[in-house]
Amino acid sequence: MEQTNLAYARTEMAADERPPSKEQGVVAWLRKNLFASVPDTILTLVGLVIVAMILPRVIDWAFINAQWTGTDRSYCATVAQGGIQPDGWSGACWAFVGAKFQQFMFGQYPIDQRWRVMLAGAIFLALLVPLLIPSVPRKLLNAVLLFGVFPFIAFALLVGGVFGLPFVETARWGGLMVTLVLSIVGISVSLPFGILLALGRRSKLPVIKLVCVIFIETIRGVPLVTVLFMASVMFPLFLPAGMTFDKFLRALIGVAIFAAAYMAEVVRGGLQAIPKGQYEGAASLGLTYWQTTGLVILPQALKLVIPGIVNTFIGMFKDTSLVAIIGMFDLLGIVRQNFSDANWASPQTPITGLVFAGFIFWLFCFGMSRYSIYMERRLDTGHKR
């Protein structure tokens, strides 16, 4: 019997060697992601040129050269334009935004009454945030408070005329407040109407189906501007003499009609994704149409289309800026109105105001789209088809 001599074999593990430098670390990352091949390198260089052209200018304009404080236009104009800045100066006029900030938020809402808007906003946030965080309990109570009770509180607070609060006419509303009121009310009204329209479109009753199809396709085929014009110039003609409607309410109806048509198509997408077995199952249990719809179909369909609903909401939030065209002052409208303020008119004022308004819109829309992605992942229960 021969004993194998294993003396040449190690008895302990060798220390790990560092991975090859081509596979790890900064250099490897650069090689892999930026300089993998000749065309890749060229692309990277082109990209670097683009970034080098844009980024320093933007930073320079928005931060380094920007005028942060000031009381009138002279702070944001060059000497030749009657200001204090050196010739050739170009920078953001944040002083303008600072001076007009209150107006951008509340429009011409009476200054001593603005706490009402802020209170309404605070209540809204206090009710909305727990609803959006999935782990917070008592969703039903929360939803009832938000959709059932809050509208009345908000109406009393914003419009006034009750509980000793002075009446504030909607002509004085403006700024971000109008944008938010229009989009929030619009979406809350358009969702139920959109659901009804979608159900109507899938109905087997020809008259109901036809009415819904005509409504949806007409509204979706025309631009929002024409719907808003219709709301602002045609609605007064439709009403009996002596009866008038608030301009704000007209715009709100226009926006809600428009959003309802789009919402209907989103909901229809969800309804179509529900397998026929669900309807048959509900029918075999003896449920009526409304029981089937309310208890079986809609809960599943709406869950499927949450991303679509949020997208519609984002679209609508952006579209509210169009009310500026029919002479209302939402965030964009009021920013634009202030460009003509002689006290602040300078070459840098418009672009600064627009960048500010754009940033606010961007924050809201980007936030919503991120939340929708998060919800999509959370609700993805695996039976995606």
Binding site: N33, L34, A36, D40, L43, T44, G47, L48, I50, V51, K204, L205, P206, V207, I208, V211, T218, R220, G221, V222, P223, L224, V225, T226, F229, M230, V233, M234, P236, L237, F238, L239, P240, A241, I314, K318, D319, S321, L322, A324, I325, L332, R336, F339, P347, P350, I351, L354, V355, A357, G358, F361, W362, C365, F366, S369
Partner: protein, 396 residues
């Protein structure tokens, strides 16, 4: 044995006819119909009443009266003595111009950015992502204002115009290009081009037939390029270079001559292109990602190289995913061109608005708008549906 008593009567006598779904459906529809008719009647009565009170005649007769306003930008001849009807046609042409140029540019930018978002290159990927995330989340109206009030009106006065290559100028009144003046015999060039198009079609057909019959390939693409460029060029030379340019000249207050592209058009066109391109980029990205990776791998396994794989396998399948949402983006761009009214580009809505203010015929103007936009939507979606059907997978 106890046999269960079965109801004999399938029609359900005893149950009230109210519970018959068919009868219920009829009742619901009748109620809706009556309500709708009553509503329309009420609105109609009120409208007639209101119009009579404010002394406005209704009907489309006013369209034949003299317009009396000028339009800053016209492609077809127009003067203030023309009718309202003609003014609206001018507006429609302007809408079409901005929509078509916008769609072309948005498609190009959108395609590049969409492909860029899938690039292997980290920097390009991030630049494209930043672009998409910025433009998707800002209202289009704001983008239009940004170009119009922020960029174009901040350009220098005509006296200090920025000189660009090829005799073009840029100032706060727009973009000035040399205007081409075609000389005698220039008609040969479009004729040659049409001829080239016809030849290309013929070549492509023959090449296809030959490949089907013998398997031999023919470089159709390069032949077509040579034909399309070469024939018009040949015609140009043969006609004796019938082209001169009128260059814009700087005078004290303005630039004279040349072609002017006004800032209203430029800002609307740029804004619509950049805004829609962000959405198109996302659609293109989703389309490419939507093609199963197995398709590429199978093509490689068959021995196809990278380019034919893309051209013959990936792109045709991606197009199928891309076309329906792309159609709705094109429609959105066309509808968004109505935002022209905010900066005064004379499109259909802007001119309609002017007529509305002059004549007070609100209902007729809004009706014209809606019919025209609905028509445009129908035509465009009809065309895209046809294209989609051509592209669709032919399943056995």
């Amino acid at each position: 044995m106890v046999s269960q008593e079965m109801p004999r009567d399938a029609s359900g006598a005893g149950a009230s006819f109210i519970n018959d779904p068919r009868i219920r459906g009829l009742i619901y529809q009748a109620v809706l119909f009556v309500l709708l008719v009553a509503f329309v009647y009420w609105i109609f009565g009120n409208t007639v009443d209101n119009l009579r009170r404010s002394n406005i005649t209704s009907g489309f007769g006013f369209l034949n009266s003299r317009a009396g306003f000028d339009i800053s930008e016209t492609l077809i001849s127009y003067s203030s003595n023309d009718t309202y009807k003609w003014a609206l046609v001018v507006g429609l042409v302007n809408t079409a111009v901005v929509a078509v140029t916008g769609i072309i540019t948005a498609s190009i930018i959108g395609f590049l950015v969409g492909v860029g978002r899938l690039s292997e290159n980290w920097l390009i990927r991030k630049i494209c992502m930043v672009y998409v995330e910025i433009f998707r989340n800002i209202p289009p109206l704001l983008v239009i204002f940004f170009w119009y009030l922020g960029v174009l009106s901040a350009l220098p006065q005509p006296r200090e115009s920025i000189a660009l290559p090829f005799g073009a100028w840029l100032n706060n009144r727009g973009f000035f290009l040399p205007a081409p003046i075609w000389g005698e015999g220039a008609w040969l060039i479009p004729v040659a081009f049409l001829l080239a198009v016809g030849l290309c079609w013929f070549v492509a057909r023959r090449a296809h037939q030959r490949q089907a019959a013998t398997g031999e390939q023919f470089p159709v693409f390069w032949t077509s390029v040579a034909l399309l460029v070469g024939l018009p060029l040949l015609a140009f030379v043969a006609a004796g270079f019938p082209l001169t340019f009128e260059f814009p000249k700087k005078s004290t207050f303005n630039l004279l001559g040349g072609t002017q592209i006004r800032p209203e058009f430029l800002s609307l066109y740029l804004a619509l292109s950049f805004y829609t391109a962000a959405f198109i980029a996302e659609i293109v990205r989703a389309g490419i990602l939507g093609v199963n990776k197995g398709q590429t791998e199978a093509a490689y396994a068959l021995g196809l190289r990278r380019r034919p794989t893309l051209r013959l396998v990936v792109v045709p399948q991606a197009l199928r995913i891309v076309i329906p949402p792309l159609t709705s983006q094109y429609l959105n761009l066309t509808k968004n061109s109505s935002l022209a009214i905010a900066i005064g580009y004379p499109d259909l809505v802007h001119i309609g608005g002017t007529i509305l203010n002059q004549s007070g015929h609100a209902i007729e103007i809004v009706a014209i708008w809606m019919v025209v936009y609905l028509g445009l939507s129908l035509v465009m979606s009809g065309f895209m549906n046809w294209f989609n059907a051509k592209m669709a997978l032919v399943e056995r």
